[in-house]
């Protein structure tokens, strides 16, 4: 695992994530959101889970980011976040970060390097998906159908008033 690549990807991902959480203009935040997910997909590639990285790029950069941009354009009236930020929330986030960092740094079992692994092929993922994980797969299919129908019902206009 290349440490130079790790540092570059970490800086890119965290800077893009911070920008997407703090920028005032919504459209800029949405583009930074897409960049964040490219960075996370790069982490997955670095960790040897190429398939998950590709799925991440397809689903987030290809679909969710475009969906967010569409929603921003459909709610055009306030494309800037004019409300004052809630500083109490920032304090809570920093406190949670401190707690997590303390727990991670206090655990000596996490000081391990990556073991050698045989590459995880898409064939193996497909095999496991069709044997051990076939019920979760069906449930996710049902969930996605329900989400599709639910989203359509939510945004459908009431026609009977006119």
């Amino acid at each position: 695992m290349n440490s130079a690549a790790f540092v570059v990807i970490a800086i890119l991902t965290l800077a893009a994530a911070f920008a997407s959480a703090t920028l005032q203009k919504l459209m800029h935040a949405a583009l930074m959101f897409a960049l964040t997910f490219v960075g996370i997909a790069a982490f997955f590639f670095l960790l040897g889970a190429e398939f998950v990285g590709l799925v991440q790029v397809f689903v987030y950069v290809g679909a969710v980011a475009v969906l967010i941009v569409f929603t921003i354009l459909l709610t055009r009236r306030d494309v800037q976040d004019t409300g004052k930020p809630n500083w109490g929330g920032a304090i809570i986030a920093i406190a949670v970060f401190g707690g997590l960092l303390w727990a991670i740094l206090k655990t000596p079992a996490l000081f391990i390097a990556a073991p050698q692994i045989e590459a995880l092929t898409v064939k193996r993922i497909g095999g496991v998906l069709m044997t051990d994980y076939v019920w979760p797969l069906q449930c996710v299919g049902l969930l996605l159908t329900a989400a599709l129908i639910g989203a359509l019902i939510l945004v459908m206009e009431d026609r009977d008033e006119g």
Binding site: L14, A17, A21, F43, F44, T82, G89, L105, I125, L143
Partner: protein
Amino acid sequence: MTPTLQLFLVISATLFCIGLLAVLSRRHAIFILIGIELMLAAANLNFIAFWRFGPQPQPPTGVMIAIFSIAIAAAEAVVGLAMVIAVYRHYRTTNVDQFDQLKG
């Protein structure tokens, strides 16, 4: 020096807290959804990192959970954004402080 598991967990914790910051401090509904997506992605990064650093050989459980989690996060984003549009039609705003009709 190659990156250890600890470094990945620190990155993931930072990402989670940036998402938490967006959820708790912003007033705009779309920013809150962006924050939730960032937190879910941080959890996925943890799953993949623990799978990669765990004892080998092992079944690809972490990878499987990450794939299902991505699918569920996509469904959540679709319904969330549809709700933002539906609420915007009703209130003509996306500022969550003004959604106070149910407030006692």
